[in-house]
């Protein structure tokens, strides 16, 4: 009897779901291309990650390649170079997060205060441009500016009696330059999300603050900032997920033998292992290192999400 009731309930729920879907069938139809894209390009390829547990050979394919268990993972973890790579990756990612994340928020807060709309739009457009410049061009610009013999910066230094600085070959300069380049390229683009969130703030709050005699800064920090806090938290959790991801293109374009001490990161190492060899690239090893990196990023996102749930109301899932 109970079973019959349960199945009837389940059947009723199924019918209701189907009816609901049928009513919104056009919306679901629109969803299909996105789902197919996700399935084909995001989910299906994940099965390819099994090569991390194989001695993968392109000619034998996934089916016939030899299984090696965790050998590739053990090899990486016992590699004397591992700790250096981890340190370089973590530091670069940390500094990147430290500067690339908050600057767009500060910039959005300032742009939001500009009262002349045309000026506001002009500033937004100009700061948005660098996002469309490719890494190759951006790094070339950096090289040109910082060239020890013909660069603007060094010419200025020399005209003040200083010695030229080899910015692009000093290990100590690599992280600041990498982060600065990222800030320059991304701050205009990233600030759009916060500016959009600011447009949703109830104007009555500002009017009430005006009546209470609140200054601009008070309004900024007591109305604008708390109102976009949820957006900031969500963006932060997403940024945490990217913490182990560095911009490989930029690094490969920027690095040279004198920078290996600070510029060699897990991704550039994987690239050397998996792609830069002449014949028999070690895809399995590359996949194992990449998978480990993804797992670390996943754990970080879960932790950030949990922390966010505990300390504020915002969370992604």
């Amino acid at each position: 009897m109970q079973t019959a009731l349960r199945s009837e309930t389940a059947g009723g729920r199924g019918r209701r779901l189907w009816n609901g879907m049928w009513r919104s069938r056009l919306l679901y139809l629109i969803l299909i291309p996105g789902l197919v894209h996700m399935l084909v390009f995001k989910l299906l390829p994940l099965f390819g990650l099994v090569i991390a547990f194989q001695d993968y050979s392109l000619i034998k394919g996934i089916g016939a390649s030899k299984w090696v268990g965790f050998a590739n993972f053990e090899k990486f973890l016992s590699d004397p170079y591992f700790w250096k790579l981890l340190k370089n990756t973590a530091l670069l990612a940390f500094f990147n997060l430290l500067f690339v994340f908050p600057i767009p928020i500060l910039f959005a807060l300032m742009v939001n205060e500009v009262r002349i709309k045309s000026v506001q739009r002009f500033v937004q457009t100009v700061t948005f441009f660098p996002y469309f410049i490719s890494s190759a061009v951006a790094v070339s610009i950096l090289y040109t500016f910082l060239s020890p013999q013909s660069g603007l910066v060094n010419m200025a230094l020399q005209s003040m009696g200083g010695e030229p600085v080899f910015f692009m070959s000093e290990p100590g300069w690599f992280r600041p330059l990498y982060v600065a380049l990222n800030v320059w390229q991304l701050f205009g683009y990233s600030s759009i999300i916060y500016l959009a969130a600011m447009t949703n703030i109830d104007p009555h709050l500002y009017e009430a603050a005006d009546m209470d005699g609140a200054s601009r800064f008070r309004k900024m920090f007591h109305i604008t900032l708390p109102s976009i806090l949820n957006t900031i938290v969500i963006m932060f959790i997403l940024a945490i997920g990217q913490i182990m991801t560095v911009d490989l293109d930029k690094i490969l374009l920027m690095y040279n033998p004198s920078l290996y001490d600070t510029a060699d990161v897990i991704q550039s190492y994987v690239y050397r292992q998996a792609f830069a060899t002449r014949g028999f690239p070690n895809y399995s090893y590359g996949a194992a290192v990449g998978l480990m990196q993804s797992i670390v990023a996943f754990i970080l996102v879960l932790s950030a999400n949990k922390a966010s749930k505990k300390f504020s109301d915002s969370q992604i899932f």
């Binding site: 394919g61 080899f166 920078l259 028999f280 070690n282």
Partner: protein, 516 residues
């Protein structure tokens, strides 16, 4: 990583697809050098820059005509780097062209697994000229014969050429340098005199591009295989260095002196120098001496040197004597037979194989060699008392823009892997290059053997090199620029060993021993 995974899945899907290439129209063979019969049609995978080069050559249409061939040149990536990086995935895809350029290890490993055809019987039956060359060159035979006794690929024979040290003769004159240096000490003195004569802050007498470690032969610090068969250093056909050679430490100390006294271009040491910046410096008088490819002196003379400065003059100096005062051996750019330019035939194109090998046989024949090395009689060369003489000049033909049909015979570039004719190659050069090339190479060139690695050796080696090389590179820069004291040299060698330096040398030794 997702992209990598997607690539693998797609590659796996491709493999399960139908075999299209075997269904492509078959071509019956035409005789070597024959122009009759059905057209020989096949596709050929190589780097794009060689396709552009080949298409401009005036002898190429003649070659196709003589062999009645129609070859589809397939671009596998613009330059060598791009080509080899994506080669593995191309080899595994279902649309691998009928023939391709691969590395020798790929030819053997994938050949034995059935991806490429065994050419042994094909050559025996259809290619008398290839057979003759193999029989006449035991080293070549040993190199191309796989461990299973089969032949999966035909490598290119490379002309004997080395880098040469060259200098601004007009700068030497102005600095009062009457004779060329013959030893490292004299060379250092020359650099000092140049710096004194040209004190500008941005003038560094010794400059260059790519690897800055030069004169290893004079410091007896090259990687090499000694008479007893012992491998010294990470083997790079003599173009690298032996980190543990006493001379190498001295070389690093010498570089440190050059750096401290501003005699060497710091951008070159730091690795930020590009080909363009080096060229600009050599053309605009911000550098006076380089050690580079042997056609570079004439390149500078023909690309703006005398145009900017009428006194501009580049000359080549002798290699510097070693520490015992002997003439050094400068390593040739490549082993005699290149293990990275190997012609293979796709196993799925078996029906065309006979025709393709006959085409290659023509390339190996006297007629084919004459066509590719000298062109057409009466048009690009003449016969003078049995000697061939070019009617066209490299100075006129060699500098024409891309897309212009030219007579050109630079055998160091890849077309179809073939035997080389060094005499013709040197003769084809411009007057300046001709004036020193043959003499320099005869006096100093040393061709080192190529090592053949097993798949496992290659995998382990490339993994270790990926670890060790950056560590060595960055430390050498530190020693040279004085950021690490030379007193820590022994500690550095231990660090290099801990990262796997000795293991790489052991692998090289094992590879050499296995193919002795």
């Amino acid at each position: 990583m997702v992209v990598l995974a997607a690539m693998l899945i797609l590659s796996a899907c491709n493999k399960s697809g139908s075999d299209e290439s075997s269904a492509s129209p078959s071509a019956s063979a035409s005789g070597s050098g024959g122009g009759s019969g059905e057209k020989v049609q096949f596709s050929y995978l190589l780097a794009g820059k060689y396709i552009n080069w080949l298409k401009d050559l005036k002898w190429y249409p003649e070659l196709l005509k003589n062999t009645n061939a129609d070859i589809e040149l397939v671009n596998g990536g613009e330059d060598d780097d791009q080509y080899y990086k994506s080669l593995e995935t191309k080899l595994m895809s279902n649309d691998l062209p009928d023939s391709a350029i691969v590395t020798l290890s790929q030819a053997e490993v994938y050949g034995s697994q059935g991806l490429f055809l065994n050419l042994k019987d094909l050559i025996e039956k259809n290619a008398p000229n290839i057979k003759k060359f193999i029989d006449a060159n035991p080293d070549y035979k040993k190199m191309i014969t796989a461990s299973d006794g089969n032949i999966y690929g035909l490598p290119q024979q490379y002309p004997v050429i080395t880098p040469v040290p060259f200098y601004r003769a007009d700068f030497f004159e102005r600095a009062g340098i009457a004779s060329n240096p013959t030893t490292i000490q004299e060379f250092t003195d020359v650099l000092k005199k140049l710096k004194a004569a040209y004190p500008a802050a941005d003038f560094y007498p010794f400059t260059g591009r790519d690897g800055y470690i030069k004169f290893t032969e004079s410091f007896q610090a090259k990687d090499f295989i000694d008479d007893s068969g012992k491998v010294h250093g990470i083997y790079n056909n003599g173009l690298g260095y032996d980190l543990k050679a006493p001379g190498f430490k001295q070389l690093v100390e010498w570089y440190n002196t050059l750096f401290t006294e501003k005699l060497i271009d710091p951008e070159w040491i730091y690795g930020t120098q590009t080909e363009e910046t080096w060229q600009t410096k050599m053309l605009t008088g911000k550098g006076a001496i380089s050690y580079d490819f042997f056609t570079r002196p004439s390149w500078f003379m023909n690309n703006g040197g005398p145009k900017n400065d009428p006194k501009y003059s580049i000359k080549v100096m002798d290699a510097l004597k070693d520490q015992q005062g002997n003439a050094p051996k400068v390593s040739a750019y490549q082993p005699r037979f290149r293990n990275d330019r190997v012609f293979v035939i796709n196993a799925a194109s078996e029906k065309k194989a006979e025709a393709i090998i006959k085409f290659m046989d023509y390339v190996f024949s006297d007629e084919g060699r004459t066509l590719m090395d000298y062109g057409v009689e009466g048009q690009s060369y003449k016969n003078e008392g049995g000697e061939k003489e070019y009617l066209v000049k490299f100075e006129e033909e060699g500098n024409k823009p891309l897309g212009t049909p030219v007579w050109n015979f630079l055998q160091d570039r890849l077309t179809f892997p073939a035997p080389s004719n060094d005499e013709a190659y040197y003769q084809w050069m411009d007057d300046l290059t001709k004036s020193f090339a043959k003499d320099f190479f005869t006096k100093y060139a040393e061709v080192m053997p190529a090592l053949k690695y097993s798949t496992d050796q290659l995998k382990e080696r490339s993994g270790l090199v990926a670890n060790v090389q950056p560590m060595i590179d960055s430390n050498l820069v530190k020693f040279i620029t004085g950021k690490r004291p030379i007193s820590e040299w022994d500690a550095f060698l231990k660090e290099a060993d801990a990262q796997g330096y000795s293991k790489i040398v052991d692998i090289d030794q094992a590879a050499y021993d296995a193919n002795k």
